[in-house]
C-alpha cells in the first residue's frame, strides 16, 4: 500500500523562471522595463507575433517581419536521442518562440524528436531547419553548373525529408547549411529550387548558415538580395572559424564589423548569431577552454557583472548588431543561464 509521507510543495514553473531572473538581477521592475522597451521598439503592423512572454526580449528578424525571441533554441544537438526534449516546453513557457533544427542527415533524429512539440505548438512558434548542399570545393573555387544542379536537388530532397520528419507541411525558413563558398551562395539553381519549394507552400524564407569564410559568404548573400536570414559564426572578438575552432585569422572585432552587419540589416537580412561562446567552452566541448578569452573587448560594466563568461558573450553580441543568438542547450541549467542572458543583455551597456 502507498501512503503519503509529506505535504506537497507547490511551484508555478513560469513564476519560477521570473523569480530566478528577478532575484539575480535587481528585481522584477527592472526586468519589466527592459521587456517593454524592447517589445515596443520593434513592434509594427507587419510584425508576426508568436508566443511572446514577459520573461523574454524580442527583435524583428529582417524582412521576415517575425518578432523573434532573442534566444533561439538550437535543437540540433540537444534533441539527438531526444535527451533534451523536456526543455522545449520550459523554453516555450519562458517565451522562446524560435526553434532551429537540422536535417536528419546531420542531426540524426532531432527533427523527429521536435515533431511532438510542434504538434502542440506549431502555430505559436517559428521553426527553421537546414541542410547542407553537399558541394565539395575549396572556399575560393567557383562551383560548376553540374555541382549547382546537384546541390539544388540534394538540398531540396533533404528539405522534403525534414518536413516529413517534423510532421509538418511548412517550415518558416530553410537554410543552406554550413556554407563556406560564396559561389554557392550566388547559385541561381539553388535559389530557384528554394523559390519552387516556396511556391509549393513548403517554406517561407530563404537563409544560410556559415561559420567558415563567413564574411565573404555574408557579403555574397547581401549582394544577391535573395536571403532573408543569415546564421553566422560570430563572437564578441570577431568571426569564428569552425574549421580551426578559433577566431578567424586576422578577423576584425565585432565592433569593427558593425558596418557590414548594418549593410546586412539594411538588405533585409535577419542576423542570427551562432558559435558565439563555443570558443570559451572546454576542449571536450570543442572549445579552447579559456573563459576569459573575450574579456579584452568588454567594458567595465559587463566585465564586473555577475554574469558567467558564457552569458557575457551572448549579452555582448546581442548589443552589437546581432538580432538573436542560437544556443545549443542540452540541460535545464544551460537553458536557465541563457534565458537570463538574453532577457537582460541591455543593462550592461551604456
Amino acid at each position: 500500500m502507498i501512503k503519503q509521507k509529506k505535504n506537497r510543495d507547490t511551484f508555478d514553473r513560469r513564476e519560477f523562471i521570473k523569480i530566478v531572473a528577478a532575484a539575480t538581477f535587481s528585481g522584477p521592475i527592472l526586468l519589466s522595463t527592459a521587456y517593454s522597451k524592447s517589445n515596443v521598439s520593434t513592434g509594427t503592423k507587419e510584425t508576426i507575433h508568436r508566443n511572446e512572454q514577459p520573461t523574454m526580449t524580442y527583435r524583428k528578424l529582417g524582412r521576415t517581419g517575425f518578432l523573434s525571441s532573442r534566444l533561439v533554441f538550437g535543437c540540433g544537438a540537444a534533441l539527438t536521442g531526444g535527451k533534451a526534449v523536456r526543455l522545449l516546453q520550459r523554453a516555450f513557457e519562458a517565451g522562446i518562440n524560435h526553434f532551429d533544427v537540422g536535417s536528419d542527415i546531420y542531426y540524426k533524429g532531432s527533427e523527429r524528436n521536435l515533431a511532438p512539440f510542434l504538434k502542440d505548438h506549431r502555430e505559436q512558434v517559428w521553426v527553421v531547419s537546414k541542410a547542407p548542399a553537399n558541394v565539395y570545393t575549396k572556399s575560393g573555387d567557383s562551383i560548376t553548373l553540374e555541382q549547382a544542379k546537384s546541390a539544388a536537388k540534394y538540398w531540396t530532397g533533404l528539405m522534403d525529408a525534414s518536413l516529413k520528419d517534423l510532421q509538418t507541411d511548412y517550415v518558416d525558413a530553410y537554410y543552406l547549411m554550413a556554407v563556406d563558398n560564396p559561389s554557392l551562395v550566388r547559385s541561381e539553381e539553388v535559389y530557384n529550387a528554394f523559390l519552387k519549394a516556396k511556391t509549393a507552400g513548403k517554406v517561407g524564407h530563404f537563409g544560410l548558415s556559415t561559420h567558415k569564410n563567413a564574411q565573404k559568404v555574408l557579403e555574397a548573400a547581401i549582394e544577391t538580395g535573395w536571403y532573408d536570414l543569415a546564421m553566422i559564426g560570430i563572437t564578441p572578438a570577431g568571426w569564428y572559424d569552425w574549421s580551426t575552432k578559433s577566431l578567424a585569422q586576422d578577423t576584425s572585432t565585432l565592433v569593427e564589423l558593425q558596418g557590414l552587419l548594418k549593410r546586412a540589416t539594411e538588405a533585409g537580412i535577419g542576423l542570427v548569431g551562432m558559435k558565439t561562446v563555443r570558443y570559451l567552452a572546454p576542449l571536450w566541448s570543442l572549445g579552447k577552454g579559456d573563459p576569459s578569452a573575450f574579456d579584452k573587448v568588454y567594458g567595465e560594466k559587463l566585465k564586473s557583472s555577475s554574469l558567467s563568461p558564457f552569458q557575457r558573450g551572448y549579452a555582448y553580441v546581442l548589443q552589437h548588431g546581432i538580432d538573436v543568438v542560437n544556443a545549443d542547450m542540452q540541460n535545464f541549467k544551460h537553458l536557465e543561464e541563457n534565458i537570463i542572458a538574453a532577457a537582460t543583455d541591455d543593462r550592461y551597456f551604456s
Binding site: 511551484f11 514553473r13 523536456r86 526543455l87 575552432k245
Partner: protein, 311 residues
C-alpha cells in the same frame, strides 16, 4: 580483360596480406591499433567500379570537428577515440557518392550509446553486427566498440545494394570483444519495447546530474512508459542523486510527494501535466518519466524496482 582480372587478383592478394598484418598488429591495447589500421581495410572495401575521393581520412577527438562540424561534441561526449572516413565516388560521376564513417568509441557501451541515441524507429533491421538498420540507402550499424554510418547520395535500388555490400564487408573486418552492455540486461525485459533502450553518458533527460543513464520504453496496456536506470558508485551516491532529482522537480515542476510501499521509497514528481517517479535500490537510481497518469507512473516504478537485480 584478362590483364584487368589479373590486376584485380593481385590487388586482392595485396589487400589480404595487409589485412593479415593489420590483424596481427593487435596488441595489448587491442583494437586501438586495429582502429589505426582501418584505412587499409576500408580501401579494400571500395565498391567495384567506384573509387576513393581524395583519400581515407582519420580523425581524433582533437580534429573530429573538421569533418562533422558541431556534431563532434555528441561523439566526444561518448569518449570517441578515432573516426575513419572515406568518400566513395562513382568513377563517372563525382556527385554520386557513398560516405563511410567508422567511429571507434573505445567500449561497446559507448558505441551502443551513440548508436542508440541516433537510432530511428521502424526502419528495416539488419542482421549485421550487434544491431543495425537501413534508412533509405543509408546504413547504421553497431558492432562491439564501433559505430558505422554509411550515407548514400541518393536512394535507389542500386545504392541500397552497394551500401549493403559495403556494410557487410565493414562488419566482417571489424572485431567485437563481446563485452556486455550493462543496461541492456539490467533493464527488465518484461513489456520492454524492442530496440527502445538508449544510453546517455551525460545530460540524460536534460538533467546535468544524470550521467551514465539508460532509458527504455515499456508498453503498459495502451500506454507507453519511459523508464530510466543508472548505476552509481555507491548506495550513498545513488541516494544523493534521488535528492537532486527531487530538487529539480521542486524547481521546475509543481511539487513532489514522498511515498512508501513496504520497503520501497519513492519520490513522485508532479511535472505539470505529467509525472516522474524516482527510487533508489542499492547503487541503482531508477524511475519512470513523463507519464500522464500518476497512479500508472507509481505502479510501473514499483514493478521496475521489484524486478531489478542488485549485483
Amino acid at each position: 580483360m584478362a590483364s584487368a582480372d589479373l590486376l584485380q587478383r593481385i590487388l586482392r592478394l595485396r589487400l589480404l596480406a595487409l589485412t593479415v598484418v593489420a590483424v596481427m598488429a593487435i596488441g595489448p591495447n587491442g583494437q586501438i591499433i586495429a582502429s589505426q589500421n582501418l584505412p587499409v581495410m576500408v580501401t579494400g572495401s571500395t565498391p567495384k567500379g567506384w573509387q576513393i575521393f581524395d583519400k581515407v581520412k582519420q580523425f581524433t577527438p582533437e580534429n573530429l570537428y573538421e569533418q562533422i562540424n558541431g556534431r563532434a561534441a555528441f561523439f566526444l561526449s561518448y569518449d570517441m577515440v578515432r573516426m575513419t572516413y572515406v568518400r566513395f565516388v562513382n568513377s563517372d560521376e563525382t556527385t554520386q557518392f557513398i560516405n563511410l564513417s567508422i567511429y571507434d568509441m573505445r567500449t561497446p557501451t559507448n558505441a551502443f550509446g551513440v548508436f542508440s541515441a541516433e537510432r530511428s524507429q521502424g526502419e528495416p533491421s539488419l542482421d549485421l553486427g550487434r544491431a543495425g538498420y537501413r534508412s533509405d540507402a543509408n546504413y547504421f550499424i553497431w558492432k562491439g566498440r564501433y559505430y558505422i554510418r554509411i550515407i548514400s547520395a541518393v536512394n535507389t535500388d542500386e545504392f541500397q545494394q552497394i551500401g549493403m555490400d559495403l556494410a557487410r564487408k565493414v562488419t566482417d573486418f571489424l572485431l567485437d570483444s563481446g563485452e556486455q552492455v550493462w543496461g541492456l540486461t539490467a533493464l527488465p525485459l518484461t513489456d520492454r519495447m524492442p530496440e527502445s533502450v538508449q544510453y546517455f553518458k551525460v545530460d540524460a533527460m536534460g538533467l546535468d546530474f544524470m550521467r551514465n543513464t539508460y532509458t527504455a520504453t515499456y508498453r503498459k496496456g495502451n500506454t507507453l512508459v519511459t523508464a530510466f536506470l543508472s548505476q552509481q558508485d555507491s548506495a550513498e551516491s545513488a541516494r544523493a542523486k534521488v535528492v537532486r532529482y527531487a530538487s529539480y522537480a521542486k524547481k521546475y515542476g509543481k511539487g513532489i510527494e514522498r511515498l512508501k510501499a513496504g520497503e520501497v521509497e519513492l519520490v513522485s514528481c508532479d511535472m505539470g501535466g505529467s509525472y516522474d517517479v524516482v527510487y533508489q535500490k542499492g547503487r541503482l537510481i531508477g524511475g519512470v518519466s513523463y507519464v500522464e497518469d500518476r497512479d500508472l507512473a507509481i505502479r510501473v516504478a514499483l514493478e521496475m524496482w521489484e524486478k531489478l537485480r542488485l549485483e
